[in-house]
């Protein structure tokens, strides 16, 4: 009789095992698709949208060489989000992780599959929620939760470049600490602006939009590009 108590646990365990198995299978399928891209270079535009940051849109070039070399070459100064550039999907799926198939879901009228990725040994990433278009084997959305830098909510649009579905628009949202005006404030005050900047709360939302175009896929890229500072 006492063995009957084990049955629910066995059922749940089997269920989780099955989910994990399905998750790993899906992850491998997606990874294989992304691994077809061994290298690429493309034009990139970076636009940052945070209410207290006024930075111009920056244009440059992005280079990727598998497994994990990404170089963004923008003249002068640029700010790039810590997550969401290059072939980050492949990099995440390549990590030793636990993959859990959550199930199907609908996002923005699209039928997507929700996959949870729990890296085993990552110093940075704690959890990734991926939403996958299973028919095209592309990740449409990825919510990356980091240990120290909060969560990055990434949505991707794709276009067909030379037979490969590659991101044309990557939208990365995040939360940043609120800006505090410097104590030694200099110059005449614009009261409206001062009031506007004294927002409540400790944090505010921000967004980065990455645009990609002019892809050259699986081309030869000079290694020295990745050594440039």
């Amino acid at each position: 009789m006492k063995y009957f108590i084990l049955i629910p646990f066995l059922i749940i365990f089997n269920f989780i095992y099955a989910l994990s198995n399905d998750g790993e299978k899906l992850a491998n399928e997606i990874l294989n698709e992304y691994k077809k891209i061994k290298s690429f270079e493309a034009d990139i535009a970076v636009k940052i949208d945070i209410n207290y940051l006024n930075a111009p849109e920056k244009k440059g070039k992005i280079y990727y060489q598998s497994p994990n070399n990404t170089k963004v070459d923008i003249e002068g100064f640029s700010m790039l989000p810590k997550q969401g550039t290059g072939n980050f999907i492949a990099e995440i799926l390549s990590m030793k992780s636990t993959f859990i198939y959550v199930g199907e879901t609908k996002l923005n009228n699209e039928n997507l599959v929700h996959l949870k990725v729990i890296p085993n040994n990552s110093k940075e990433i704690v959890l990734v929620d991926m939403y996958i278009d299973n028919s095209k084997k592309i990740v449409k959305k990825a919510d990356i939760t980091t240990k120290e830098n909060g969560t990055f909510y990434i949505s991707l649009d794709y276009k067909n470049f030379s037979g490969f579905f590659l991101p044309s628009l990557v939208n990365i949202e995040f939360v940043v600490p609120n800006f505090k005006m410097p104590k030694a404030f200099v110059g005449p005050r614009d009261k409206n602006k001062v009031d506007e900047m004294q927002k409540d709360g400790e944090t505010t939302k921000g967004k980065v939009i990455l645009k990609y175009w002019n892809y050259l896929v699986n081309n030869k890229i000079d290694k020295s590009i990745f050594d440039k500072k």
């Binding site: 940051l53 002068g76 909060g150 404030f185 614009d190």
Partner: protein, 279 residues
């Protein structure tokens, strides 16, 4: 004749050693600040942008000649006025101290001509001082640090593209000239009352220091009074480094400073024209 008078006044200004104190001071201070930025500039950038460092990787250099020049302007524009009072305060009081009014004013030149020539000569000195600062700060700064996008932290963190910076500095330095002319005019004004240049120099310095301290008081109701301090508006050049330049505020500050110059110059001219020369 008037140009000759201005030339003669310039000759007198540049014959005195105290005139060169300002130029030498700038010549020493600016390279010191450059050196400090070479050593600690990166820390300054990191502190200014620390709020975003967890979310972004920063690529490229934010320390460049443009950024350093702004630091120099912000720092030296508090101190350069003190150097200007050394000459401004001596323009009229110095003549009284040396007793030379008794020789100058018994010649076929009117008091109005004399005081106008003195004012203009002193103004030329001020302009030359600011140009010298411009050349050293921006010129030498670009030579040492190069150019690039410029970061300005004020109401917000502004990153101005390199191609969009130089015209802002050109206007900023013109504005700086006007700010310094206000200080010069104040010391010139006080110089007309006394027979020793120490008084107007110290009085002008005291006014600058007191008003700058009062500017730091961050109480809502006090802001109304602060609006009339010329020290509040001396730094309005900083508005030129916002993403959207608020020309309304900049123009308003310009008018307030010009107003100071016009009123004080007029008062000085009227008083000097009427006063008895007993020195």
């Amino acid at each position: 004749m008037f140009l000759r008078l201005v030339k003669l006044e310039l000759f007198k200004i540049f014959s005195k050693w105290r005139t060169y104190i300002g130029f030498i001071a700038i010549g020493i201070l600016v390279p010191i600040i450059h050196f400090a930025m070479l050593a600690e500039g990166q820390t300054l950038i990191e502190v200014s942008t620390r709020v975003l460092r967890n979310t972004f990787d920063f690529e490229g250099e934010l320390i460049n000649g443009y950024m350093v020049t702004r630091i120099i302007m912000q720092f030296l524009f508090i101190n350069i006025p003190l150097l200007i009072t050394l000459v401004g305060g001596d323009m009229l009081a110095g003549e009284a101290t040396s007793g030379t009014y008794r020789l100058v004013l018994v010649r076929p030149i009117s008091r109005l001509q004399l005081i106008s020539a003195k004012y203009i000569a002193g103004a030329i000195y001020v302009i030359l001082m600011v140009i010298w600062l411009y050349i050293l700060a921006l010129g030498l700064g670009i030579l040492i640090f190069g150019t690039g996008d410029m970061i300005v932290v004020r109401y917000a963190i502004n990153i101005i593209p390199a191609s969009d910076v130089l015209w802002r500095y050109e206007i900023a330095f013109l504005y700086a000239i006007m700010s310094m002319l206000v200080v010069y005019t104040i010391s010139f004004f006080f110089s007309s009352f006394v027979e020793n240049s120490i008084g107007p120099i110290i009085t002008t310095m005291a006014i600058l220091i007191v008003l700058n301290i009062l500017n730091l008081i961050d109480i809502g109701s006090f802001a109304v009074i602060q609006e009339f301090f010329f020290t509040t508006h001396m730094n309005a050049w900083i508005l030129l480094f916002e993403k959207e330049v608020n020309y309304d505020i900049l123009l308003r500050s310009t008018y307030i400073l010009l107003g100071h110059v016009v009123v004080l110059t007029g008062a000085t001219f009227i008083y000097f024209n009427k006063k008895d020369i007993s020195s």
